[in-house]
Symmetry: C2
DNA sequence: CTAAATTGTGACCGGGCGGTCATATGACCG
DNA sequence: CGGTCATATGACCGCCCGGTCACAATTTAG
């Protein structure tokens, strides 16, 4: 009995030797990071991973299931990151929360750039199917920002007359693209590495750039 | 002798009767608005427009040339809009300039939603070729915002210690998605109409929503 | 009315795709 | 050794694509 959150590879996939599985995974993630869903090619993944096309269909039901599995993988990585970090006081006000979000969201994107790219494409690119999980995550993301803002207005860390829709739009839009901005500023190359560890110095620089943005969001372009 | 800015349909295309050309154009624009380049299908355009596939290749060199032509069309629409609007004093400070940009950029997107969508995909989606015009426009867009900010810092309409990169990022990101936000707030449907005229009331509502965003950018979330 | 030039057409080509399946390979077990 | 079962394989299917081309239809010119 395998408890599953709906989408899983077949048992055969889990019987793979770890290094074969790793090879396959890297090929798959890179494919779905480099191409959006319709353009990503199972044939290419197989060629890259060095397996026969028939083998793929012993591991996964179809193309869609592979993508959903990759997204779940990303979620688990993110959960692991959440668990590994001590979050600051959740009642420290809006900008404290926003900084936590930055640490998690962007930290994840910077450490697992390819996996993050897969998720980004699945969220904002074209999918020829509707999936509950993806729709739910999209919704939840935006609602999280909205909730943070409302809470901030309630606890006084934000002014009370904010246009909530506008603020939610600005914050979520900026945060969606934030990791790309930071990668550009740090001179990091998405495709160069599969997982990467930031040096303390790099992380400090990322924080500096984030501070610049935060400053704008806090006090605006004038004051 | 036909002067051309590099990409043009063949003469045969211009010899088409206006209504045939119109039918074809609508089909083509909708196709490239609904699908990004690799997924957009010439065959489908032909079927929709009711012409033979061979005919298409009497009008255009290939798929790429069609897209580039559509983008040029969008540019001309935009130029027409610029010409039709009296711009406020360009020395009225940063936020005056930003408001002009809003009027033009978003006005165009709201009036020609499908054509704007084509351009958006070409700019931010995946293209299997590099094109100078597109690259140039992308670059120019971001640089325009950067220039506005620098000017604003110089003339005192912005505080002088702004993180320029951060501000450019925030402004250009927000403006890129702005028309989608407004369409959602106004309850407009992209695909419903090919060109649309906003009522005065709708335009006023769009302005109100834009003001909400502008307020955030001006004074931030706190003050 | 005819001849020349322009335009319309859809069968066809090569290629890539997602997905299938009969068969081959090899591990495990008595 | 033999038999059973899980896995690996790549030829194959049907589909759709961008693009071509020989030919048919139509317009234009003389």
């Amino acid at each position: 009995m395998t408890a599953r959150s709906h989408i899983m590879p077949k048992q055969t996939y889990f019987n793979l030797t770890p290094d074969k599985r790793e090879t396959f995974l890297v090929a798959a993630i890179n494919e779905f990071a480099d191409h959006d869903y319709p353009t990503a090619s199972i044939s290419r993944v197989c060629k890259t991973a060095g397996i026969a096309k028939g083998s793929f269909y012993q591991y996964f039901e179809d193309k869609k299931d592979l993508l959903l599995y990759l997204i779940q993988l990303g979620l688990e990585e993110k959960k692991a990151l959440v668990a590994s970090i001590e979050l600051p006081d959740p009642n420290g006000g809006f900008f404290e929360s926003l900084r936590s979000t930055f640490t998690l969201q962007v930290g994840h994107s910077l450490q697992h750039p390819r996996l993050a790219e897969v998720a980004h494409r699945a969220f904002y690119g074209a999918l020829p199917f509707k999936d509950e999980m993806i729709e739910g995550l999209k919704q939840a993301g935006v609602e999280a920002y909205r909730g943070m803002i409302q809470k901030g207005m309630a606890d006084g860390s934000l002014r009370p007359d904010i246009d909530i829709d506008a603020a939610t739009f600005v914050i979520s839009t900026v945060f969606t693209e934030l990791s790309r901005y930071l990668e550009k500023q740090l001179g990091l190359d998405n495709k160069a590495m599969f997982t990467r560890e930031l040096t303390d110095e790099q992380w400090a620089e990322a924080s500096r750039h984030f501070d610049g943005i935060l400053r704008l969001l806090e006090s605006g372009l004038i004051n």
